[in-house]
Every structure is written in C-alpha cells, then in structure tokens.
C-alpha cells in the first residue's frame, strides 16, 4: 500500500499527472476540430461524438475483450456521425452552428440510449505505458502511467502540423478553408475535401471519447463528459488553429481540471465551485488577454463562419 503522504508535492504531482490524463481527450478532440476548422467548417457536435465514442469503445471492448478494438470502434462511430454532419452542412443554406447543436443532441441521445446496458459491466482497460516504473515512490510511479492514446495524440499533433505545412493535401485543405472560391477555381473539390476533414476530425473526436471510458476515468456513465467536446472549439481558437499549440492548450486545460480536488486534498477547501470552474475562467482570461480586434483573425481560416 502507499507509504506516506507527500504533502505539497502531492499537489504538484497530482496536477502533473492529471494534466496528461485529463488533457488527452481535450487533445484528441481539439485536433479533430482543428482539422475540421482548417477546412472552413465549425463542428459543435463533437460533444455528441465524444459521448458516442466513449460508449462504443466501452461496449465493443466489453464484448470483444480487447480495448484496442474498442478504440477502433470509437473512431468508426465518430466517423459515422461525422458523415451525417458533413452531409448536412454541405447542403446550401444550412447553418453550421445549428447543425452542430442538432448533432450534439442526436449523438448524445444515441450514446445514452445504446449505452444503457453497458453502465454496469466492466470493460477491459487500455494498458498504461509506465514511464515511472523506475521510481520506488508509488505516487510517482502511478503519476507517470501514461495513456497510449496520449502518445498517439502527440504524434497526430506533430503530424498534422507537418501535414498542413508541407504536404500538398495539407495545402489543399488550407486553401479550401481560406478561400473556397479560389480553391474551386484551381479544380479542388471543396465538398470532398471538407467531407474528408469533417469525418476524420470526428473520428479523432471519437478516439478522445474512447480515452475517457477506457483509460481515465475508465468507466461508461452518462455524466462522463465534462464538456470536452464543446471546449475543444474554444481550445482550437485559443491555439490559433495550430495543432502543436493545441497540444499545449490541452495540457493546460487538463491541469486546470485537477486543481480543485488537488487543493482540497491538502486542505484548501473554500470556494471549490470556483476552483472547479478554473478551466473555463482560464480560457476566457487567456482569450481576453491575447485577442484583439485586429489580431483575432490571424490564423483563422477565411471561410470559417461564412456559408461559402
């Protein structure tokens, strides 16, 4: 069992560990949203995708006994919802925000409905990668047990950065997002590019959900999400549509989630509602400080928010 309390170090280690495990769903969902927004479409339905991904990962992992098959199922579920969303917003005169909210409701409904029989059973979890096994202090060893999906997310972040900067497809996506008219003029299919981006983005969002149910907190319940899907949209703007900055922003959010409980564990227990709202307050603060009427739109895909 655990040796001794480590006092204030507990807060530091706790927040560090929570940063990584709490940040992973934010990372994956925000990368998905980043991809979608780079092509010029905003997807508010990722919250529904997240829930659907979490549910399907858990259900399939339970049925098949393999958490990895569960992750694949989550990606597939996310991709399917993404197809519906992409189809809907590719139609003229459909408002992106409204479509996203309708998908949120629909996705949540599906997840809760089909997830009812899976609340009770225990599904096999994703194996952690124990980076801290060299330590004899159990807290450090436990804190450094990192989810494999985190490494996957980091790889995707750097990969996406490279993708947008150097590959031809990446440039196509950016062209479609910045100026669809110009992209059409050079023969790029705007609809198809956006479709692929939305579907892949949703698949990533689904994998983010898989992390919630198959790693941390590691269960399927209807309250599993703390709004990660919606916050991802904020995160992407915060990170200026840059995948690697999404990584840092996600870690920030993950850490902010853990401040409340960690402080209580060392005895600071007043105002915990406000501490629990720290991710949201933090985001708002950073946005207020870093945005300005002239600078907000740097990095924003030109077609975002318009109906072209």
């Amino acid at each position: 069992m655990n040796a001794h309390s480590i006092g204030w170090w507990g807060v530091v280690i706790g927040v560090l560990a929570a940063t990584v495990r709490g940040g992973t769903p934010f990372l994956l969902v925000s990368l998905g949203e980043c991809l979608t927004e780079k092509s010029g479409k905003i997807n508010l339905g990722l919250e529904g995708v997240l829930l659907m991904g979490a549910m399907s990962a858990y259900a399939v992992a339970y049925r098949t006994g393999s958490p990895w098959v569960g992750v694949a199922a989550a990606a597939a579920a996310g991709g399917t919802l993404g197809c519906v969303h992409a189809f809907l917003v590719s139609r003229p005169k459909v408002n992106d925000i409204a479509a996203g909210i309708a998908m949120l409701i629909f996705g949540s409904g599906c997840a809760f409905y089909f997830g009812k029989p899976y609340i009770q059973p225990s599904a096999p979890q994703l194996p952690p990668i124990g980076l801290g096994n060299w330590s004899s202090v159990p807290q450090i060893a436990d804190a450094l047990k990192i989810s494999p999906l985190f490494f996957f997310g980091v790889a995707v972040a750097f990969g996406m950065q490279w993708f947008f900067r150097t590959t031809r497809w990446g440039m196509q996506v950016r062209a479609v997002g910045d100026s669809p008219a110009a992209a059409r003029a050079v023969g790029i299919s705007v609809t198809r590019t956006r479709f692929l981006c939305i579907v892949c983005g949703s698949a990533l969002g689904g994998i983010g959900g898989a992390h919630l149910s198959l790693f941390y907190p590691g269960a399927w319940t209807e309250a599993i999400s703390s709004g990660q899907g919606l916050m991802a949209v904020a995160l992407v703007i915060f990170a200026r549509w840059n995948p690697v900055q999404c990584l840092w922003a996600s870690l920030l959010f993950g850490g902010a989630q853990a401040i409340g409980p960690s402080l209580q564990a060392v005895g600071i227990s007043t105002g915990y509602y406000l501490w629990n709202a720290s991710p949201y307050i933090l985001t708002l603060l950073v946005m207020v400080l870093t945005c300005s009427t002239k600078r907000t739109l740097v990095g924003a895909p030109g077609a975002l928010g318009t109906s072209s």
């Binding site: 519906v84 809907l88 139609r91 003229p92 005169k93 459909v94 408002n95 925000i97 409204a98 479509a99 909210i101 309708a102 998908m103 949120l104 409701i105 629909f106 996705g107 949540s108 409904g109 599906c110 997840a111 809760f112 409905y113 009812k116 709004g227 919606l230 949209v233 904020a234 703007i237 105002g271 509602y273 406000l274 629990n276 709202a277 949201y280 307050i281 985001t283 708002l284 946005m287 207020v288 945005c291 300005s292 009427t293 002239k294 600078r295 907000t296 739109l297 924003a300 975002l304 928010g305 318009t306 109906s307």
Partner: protein, 372 residues
Amino acid sequence: MPTAPDANTVSVAAATATATAPRPAWRWRTSLEGVAIPVGAVVGGCVLFGIFCFFQSRNPFAVFAAIYKAAFGSWYSFQNTLVRAAPLMLTALCTALPGRWGLVVIGNEGGRVGGGVAATAAGLAVQSASLWFVILCMLLGGMVGGGLWITLVGLLYYKRGVNETISSLLMNYIAIAVLNHLVNGVMRDPSSLNKPSSYPIPDEKMMPTMGNSNVHYGLVFGIVACLLAWVLMEHTTFGFKVRMIGGNIRAARMAGLPVATLGLITCFLGGAAAGTAGMVEVAAVHGRANESLAAGYGYAGILVAFVARHRGLPIILVATFLGGILASGGILQREFQLPDATILLFQGLVFLSILFSDSLYGRFKFFKERGA
C-alpha cells in the same frame, strides 16, 4: 469571426428597390413552400423515429399516438406543453436577437442563471411589499442580471475581438459556478439543509398560476416577449437598422449606423429575455435560487432560435412544438419502457430533418413562381 449573412434580410439596395417597385400579386407558391417544407421536415423526422421504434420492437403508431396524447391530446397535456414552452420562448430570444445583428450567442443558460440570481436578490430585498411590486422588482432584476451578462459577451467581442460563441459558452459554465458558489455560501439560507438554497421568497409573493390551470404567468411573459421582439425587429427603425447590420455590416457602417451600440443593445435585450426566464423559474416555480436553476433546458433554446430563423413569431410556434416533444418524454418511459434518452434521439432526428429541409427551398419546381 465573420458570420453568415441572413438569407432572409434585405440589403440596402434591395430594400430601396422593393420599396419603389409595384406590388406583385400574392405569391402563394412561395408561401405554400414556407409551410410545406417545414411541415414535411417534421413528418420526415417522425418517420425516421418511427423506423427506429420499429427496430426497437415498439409499434411506431402506438408511440406516436402516445406522444400526441401527452403533448397536445387534451387540455391537461397541452398545459404541460405550454409550461415547457414558456422558458424556451424566452431563452430562444437570447440567441435570436443578437442573431439578427450577426452575433452567434449561445449563452442562454448563463443569462438565465444570472437573471435568476439577480431576481432572487431583488425579490428578497422588497419581499414585504405588495405582490405586484415584488414581481415587478424581480422582473427588473432578472432582466438587468441577464442583460448585463450577455452584454459582457458583446463587449468582449467588440472591444477585444473575442469570438462570441466561445465566450458565451464559457460564460455559461462560469455562471453556473458562480450560482453554486453564492447559493452555498453568501446567499445560503441556513435552514435549507439538504438542498442549499437562498432565502425563500414568501409563498404569497410568488407568481400565481393562470386561472384554474397549471400554467403560470411565465407563459404570458414568453409570448409577450416574442411579440415585442417581432414588432421591434420587423416594424421599427431600430429593428431595420439591426437587420441591415446583420445583412451587410460594411454597408451599414458606411451608412453611418452606430454598429457597436446597436450590437450591445441587442445583446442586452437578448440577455434580458434569458434573465426573465430565470426570474420566472424562481418566481413561479422554486421561490428561491438553488442548483435547480441550472438544471436547464440545455441547448434546446438555441435550436428553437435557429429553426425559427431568429424571428419572434415563429419562435412561439417552434417553442410550443418542442415543448410538446419534451412533455411526451415521460409517457415513452412509462408506457413503452423506453429509456429517458429516447426523447433526445427524437429531438435530434426532428431537428436534423428540419435543418436539412432548409436546403430544399427553391429545389422543387412546384414551388417556383410562374412568370417573372
């Protein structure tokens, strides 16, 4: 973030043009389209849900009969629908009014909570006065509380360029945190043990129900607010200016309109509507502020606004329709043993269908006007 020009608003030039052209004959095909497509969409959504029910081994016709019975089938059921529709009408305005200006605000929950807390404080301060004075003060408190909350969103957009959708979303969470903090702390009534709440508004000073029904006057507030919004936006100069900005902000600026001021005013009005919803929740239902204030209507109000194209009169209809769907959730559970999530699915299908139908305007030859 630039927003989509509302397809139904007029630009400066077009407005002038139609004002001087001779009036055309009544375009019945267009009017018919405006009714047939949404109705068709609702039917389509219901068909999809029916197919779902069929695959879940429930008789779709029985399910729809039950939904109808629970939503519109009797005066008793309709009252339930109306009670659910009232807050939807008010919170929808929080998205609809700034929406005409061109902002996409989804802070309805935050405005509602802000208004509810302010209304409670106001009501407690004057609780010894007459019933109508108390209600009036609470209403003002609610409107100011909610209005200021959303004006903040508008200010952040205007002064610092912060995207209003995101900031209003974050403000929702922050509002709920502040509510919990206040209700568990400073505003807490020590005798509200197992459910921390503020001090209560005395029973006799709460908003009564109308006549013999179970419907409280919040419904009146909702309908009146929507009507006022409609009159404001469609028939006043203020509304015309706002619609112009929503149509083409650059042209409006060139025409010398005080774009920022008008934007902040619409934010305040939208927030005031949401705040009124919060006030109604406190004055007519709970009698105090506590966590139930945030046990909200989720994102339903936002959807109502979009589906009603941000206009006051359709909001009344769409809110009633959605109120009916929500009111039928219970019967699906009790009679068909369908889980509570079923009603979410139904909502989602119907709204997806309605949104999809938006793209069908102008596609059917039947609805195209003959001649010029």
